[in-house]
Amino acid sequence: MRHTTDSRQRHAGPAADQLPRLLPADSGTGPAGLGEHLARYGPLRSAGLSRPQREALIDEVDRSGLAGRGGAGFPAARKLAAVAAGHNPVVVANGTEGEPASCKDKVLLARSPQLVLDGAVLAAEIVGASQAVIVVHHSVREIVDAAAAERTQAGADRVRIRVMTAADRFVAGEASAVVHWIGDGVPTPTRKPPRISERGLGGRPTLVHNVETLAHLALIARYGAPWFRAVGTPAEPGSMLVTILGAVNEPCVCEIAIGTSVQETLSLAGGASAPLQALLLGGYYGSWVDLAAAQALPFSSEGLAVLGAGAGAGLIAALPQDACGLAETARVVRYLADESARQCGPCLFGLDAIAGELQRLAEGSTSDLSLLRRWLGQVDGRGACSHPDGAVGLVRSALDVFKPELGQHAQGWCRATRMANVLPVPPRRQP
C-alpha cells in the first residue's frame, strides 16, 4: 500500500464509520463530477504500479474481505488474482442490472460514476489489462459517457475506458452473458468450462466485477482494508447498497453497513406504508421471509441464513398484508420463465411448467403440490447458469412462507384485497 501513503497524507478520506461511502452525502440527483469526486475522496494513483505494488493491492483487497456485490458474493481478491495470473487480460465493469426490481447499480452509476470508473481502471491496472469495458443500463448510459469523457479530457487514465449499453434482459447480467454480449452481441450465458477468468472476451482472461464491487475497490485502494472493515460484520465487512421497495413510504436505494437490522434498514425507506406480512430478500433469485421472523435479524447473508435467505444483490421488497404472496410469486416466476435464455432444456421447459403450475395454485384451480415439488427437484441446478436455481429457490420459499394461503386458495378464497401488483415485472414480450 506504499503507493497510497502520500495520497493518504494529503487526503485523510471520509471517516471510516460514516455512511454513505459510495453515494454522495447530499440528496441531489446529479452525478458527482471529477472535481467534486477528487475533492471528496482524494486522488487515486493507479497508473504505473509495479508488480509488487499490484500484488500488495490484491493482498489489501483480500484483507478487506470485499465480496462481490452482484449477488453471488464471491471474494473479490480471488477473482483479481485469478485473472492477474493470465496473459493479456481484460476488465469488465458489470452494470447490467437486468433485475426489474433492483436499482442500486443504476443509482450508483447515476450519482457516483467516477468512483465506478476509478474501480474499473484500478482493477485493470492490478491485473495488467489495457482496457476496461463498462457495461451499463441504458438509463444511465449518457451519464457514464460524460464521466468517461471528463477523465479522458483530464488525461486521468492509462487504461482505455469503453462504455457499452447492456442488453435489457434478466439473464444478461450473468458474467458469461455479459462477455457474450460484448463480444458477439448475444446476451446469453455460455457453457462452463471454460471459466471467463481463463478464457472470456476474445479468448482473453476476463475479470467481470459488479460496478458496486469496483466502487468499493477504489475506496480500499485509497484508504486500506481496516478503513473498509470499520463497518459491516467480521464475515461480511463493509457497506452495501440496498434497493427498498414495495409497501414502504419512500422506496429508495440507500447504503447500509452490512449487518444492520432488517427493521432499521426498512426505516431508511420511511418505514412500512401499510401493515406488512412478508419480505422478499436478495432479489428475484432470493427468498421470501416472514416479516416477524426477519425483522430483528441482521441484513447479511450470515444473519439471514437461519431463514434460508441471503443478502443477494441487496433487494428488500415489502409485501403488505392485503396482497397475495402466491399471486406475486406466480407473476414473477412467469416472468423469469419467459426470461430464460432458452438454451438449456430443463430451464426452457421446466421453468415454464413450474410457472404454469404455480399460477394454477395461485388461482386455486389445483391444490396438489406434488407435481410442482417434483419439477422443482428436477430443474434445480440443471442449467448452464443459475437462472433455474434462482427461480426454484424463490418458489420454494414462497411455498414455505405462504403455506397458509395455499390452504385458503384450495378452499376458494384469498386474503388479498388489493389488485395492484407489488413486485415490478416488465410487460410480457412475445416469445
Binding site: G345, F349, A353, Q378, R382
Partner: protein, 75 residues
Amino acid sequence: MTAGRRLLVDPIACDGRGLCAEILPELITLDDWGFPIIRDGDVPGQLTAEAREAVRVCPKLALRLERPPKASPRP
C-alpha cells in the same frame, strides 16, 4: 485408468435426444421433458464401457467423461 471419472452434460448443447439414458440407465435418467439427469458421483468401474458408449453416441456431443474438477469453490 478410468477410476474417479464423472459424466458431465453440457446443458446448452444437450437437445434431449435421450440416447445416453438408454445406454446407461444405471446412471442417467430423463426428466419430465426428456433431458438427462446424471446421478451424482464417480462412474463405477464396471460401467465405464457403457459410459464411453453413451458419450460416443450423443448426437450433440453434449456428454463428457471427465476427471472431477480440482477442488474449487467458484460458483
